[in-house]
Symmetry: C2
Subunit: 207 residues, 2 copies
Amino acid sequence: MGVAVTKKPKGTASRARILDAAAALFRDKGYAAVSLRAIAAAAGLQSGSVYYHFGSKEEIVTEVLNLGIERVHDQVSTTIATLPVDADAATLIKTGIRNHLKALFAFGAYTSANVRIYGQVPTSARQGNLAVRREYEGLWDDILSRAQARGGVQGGIDLAAFRLLLIGSLNATLEWFDPQRGRVEDLAECYADILLSGVLTHGGGRQ
Amino acid sequence: MGVAVTKKPKGTASRARILDAAAALFRDKGYAAVSLRAIAAAAGLQSGSVYYHFGSKEEIVTEVLNLGIERVHDQVSTTIATLPVDADAATLIKTGIRNHLKALFAFGAYTSANVRIYGQVPTSARQGNLAVRREYEGLWDDILSRAQARGGVQGGIDLAAFRLLLIGSLNATLEWFDPQRGRVEDLAECYADILLSGVLTHGGGRQ
DNA sequence: TATTCTATCTAACGATTGTTAGTCTATTTA
DNA sequence: TAAATAGACTAACAATCGTTAGATAGAATA
């Protein structure tokens, strides 16, 4: 048996290929428009073989949805954790924005599949994604309230609304930004500037 | 022939019911998941009758997509036009935000169908929607460059990026905001405040 | 009144859907 | 070596899909 090599059962690779193929197809065509035969073909299998790894189409999409959020969650929470405990509000929020966007485009198929098809998936799949979603929202609520506690965020801001605005605008970049044509870091810098300081001159506008 | 009464051919009402039903179903389930039989049933017809009014499912979705944008365009351009010529940057942008959101929720089925299914619709339907989309983007570019010309917007702001951030975040409200539980005007005020002035204290953060 | 048009219906077409059952082969375990 | 398991295949199922053809009833027109 020699050294402790991690086993790689052959089926594990197929399972991953099925998920990758499903994520990309769901992102491009929506949930219902993608047949199991199309997923199987893209993964290099026959349609029947998919059922060895997953019990149903719903089971596949549920896993795709969860992976899409979990990977962003991990990237954001990991990088936030490396910040010094006394990091200021701008640093906290900027780090969150940069790493949300990084993960969005690094795991593009899963994340944009999630953003695009969540509203059109069978109820059970949506419910299977709820817990993961809420956890990620909670992560951002922590980041934002920590930023506000450090005094860097205006008192009048509705943090829940800001979180929705923030994540909504970041996720919408999936519809137009091409990471091959521009750096994600630059996009993050630009978005963070606008969201943190607004676009008006003379630092005013609020009564 | 008496007074000039606008004719109401019976089929016109059916056509409108088909579009209304299709918009609501597309918004809820996506494009491919909605069958013509479901659209017909929701409109009170048999499936074959739909083909008297539309040549194909693609033709229906193309019209739904276009109506979704045209109605927002009309609302925004009309209200912007009523502003005094020397309106300041904050007023211009705030008016645009408020009326984009108003139209979004007033024509909910069409607008959220557009936001949700645009990426998953057959190529020809997407192309049939391109011109209308570009026109609406142009309207916002006019609003923003007019605001910047009046000196109210920071010079360093990338107006195209700001437009994308803005419209992206506004459209994302369709996924969570319920106009029955809160006033759209309040939502608009909240979003405009954040987008115009940012969330940081001491008007700083930008180098 | 005779004819045409409008708007709908019914019934069916071939294609495709998610899923299942049964079979085969290669690998692992006993 | 014998038995069991993992992983894939083929073939078929009932259901549903978008679409079409033809029939039908009432309204408008001549």
